[in-house]
Amino acid sequence: MISNSAEQTSAEEVIKVAALAKRYGSLEALSGVFFKVFQGEIFAYLGPNGSGKTTTIRILTGLTRATSGDAWINGFHYEKQALDAKRQCGVVPQTINLDQELTVFDNLEIHRRLFGLSSESRRRIDLLLDYVGLLERRNATVRQLSGGMKRRLMIARAMVHEPVILFLDEPTVGLDPAIRRDIWALIKKVQADGVTVFLTTHYIEEAEFLADRIALLDRGEIVALDKPQTMMSALGEWAIDQVVHNRVVSSYFATHAEAGKHALEMENSYSIRRVNLEDAFLQMTGKKLL
């Protein structure tokens, strides 16, 4: 690590992003975002499709050039010290990018060689396959795996070089609910082992369950950044939904008793539920996440 980069981030900050922007012609995909991700946390980027989530991950992992702005990954500048910055990152992209006709082991072995790891580190591949529950499928071709297994394999591959931070771009998209929960458990396990996790998602329950802090993203801008509980409790604990003029209107209350009291005065049908991140997003942007 060179001295000037060490000045840019403190030891606790694994990612520091300053005024990062990306334009595609006239489209502003990311408009100058600022945020920090701290060691050991799960940081979620929550926003609708096209809000700039994937663009951010692609810039930070070297797949896309930013139009302007700076970012440091574990103290290394993402562009000026790109190779060092990449060594800090494990990347699990949204689309499956495994070699389908090669074996599970081969996919991890290629990754090991790409990161220039010693031959002793080959043993880590089997440990990782065991970690993600795929050791028995070690010699199967990727084509023979289910969707959930492929996701787990991608997580294992991203961890071969023991990254400081794991980037997960929509890690459970397209998976059924049971397998989604398996992936969540794996992500929690990764965090418990000391790896910082940066994930993007448009699933509210995923962000609520996994994230220590959340950045709400809308049209390339971060509209809120806080702990999920803080974001939600700013509105109250309970919500009442009712249909008014063909639109669902929500009201928020600090306690269930307050919500119930209000509901008694209502003429239309209603439902009472706990406040969630969708409510926070709706309040800040005036629109729903999905």
């Binding site: 992992t61 797949l63 790109a82 990018n97 495994l98 081969d106 290629i110 790409l114």
Partner: protein, 246 residues
């Protein structure tokens, strides 16, 4: 600067190993047809430049086939870019664009030499056994496949679909395969056709490979032309790999 090239090369070789049972017959089909059609059907005892036509043809087939197989690395790269998104795994890895390009180019060179070996073996039952021990023969095949493999890596970064890839082969590789001195001596052509063809890298490769396979010294010119073309194509490939990031 080139650290990591072997990982890229290793991946391509794993794929070659897995596909070998299909690749070997597929690499053998075209040369076999050419040997039967142009060799036997056109008259086995026909003498061209002092040699049996089959003997004249085989080095040309080696030059052509090594060009085609080296260029085929472009299809592999496109499949990994557009269908499997594996190119992103390389982009996210801490390797330079030189390492990536070198790994892919050398994979193309290796595939090309697989086809060279197949043609050499296929020539034996036809009674064609040339001076393959001549190092200049192998220098010619290596430089020829390096040129077209580097060209393939560069073009693979530019094309946006398989259809565009097909167009490049139709407009560039196929005409060169037929007009690069593979099937007939260029001396028989009118000068206005011959002169432009003399600038093609495959023409120089055919000349070098054929002369050295006959135990003659082809001179330094074809090797210089191929080496310079190879270096230029490789530099263009490096530039294109760098631009492949959006």
């Amino acid at each position: 600067m080139i650290k990591g090239w072997y990982a890229v090369y290793y991946r391509e070789m794993l794929i070659v190993r897995r596909r070998l049972p299909q690749m070997v017959p597929s690499m053998a089909v075209s040369p076999l047809l050419y040997m039967m059609a142009f060799g036997y059907a056109m008259g086995d005892q026909k003498i061209v430049e002092g040699h049996r036509y089959l003997e004249f043809l085989l080095p040309g087939l080696i030059a052509m086939s090594s060009m085609v197989q080296a260029f085929a690395i472009a299809s592999e790269i496109n499949i990994s870019r557009f269908y499997w998104n594996i190119f992103e795994e390389f982009q996210a890895a801490p390797i330079s664009r030189t390492a990536y390009a070198l790994g892919e180019v050398l994979a193309g060179v290796t595939r090309a030499h697989l086809s060279v070996l197949i043609i050499i073996v296929m020539g034996l039952p036809f009674g064609v056994c040339l001076a393959y021990y001549n190092p200049l023969f192998w220098l010619g095949t290596i430089l020829n496949s390096f040129v077209f493999s580097a060209m393939a890596v560069a073009l693979a970064m530019v094309v946006k679909s398989h259809a565009e890839q097909g167009m490049l082969i139709n407009f560039f590789i196929t005409p060169m395969a037929f007009l690069g001195g593979t099937f007939f001596p260029l001396d028989n052509l009118p000068i206005w056709i011959r002169k432009p063809l003399e600038f093609l890298p495959l023409t120089h490769a055919s000349n070098a490979i054929r002369a050295s396979a006959f135990g003659q010294n082809p001179g330094y010119l074809p090797y210089v032309v191929l080496a310079v073309t190879g270096i230029v194509c490789f530099l263009v490939a490096l530039n294109m790999v760098g631009r492949a990031r959006d």
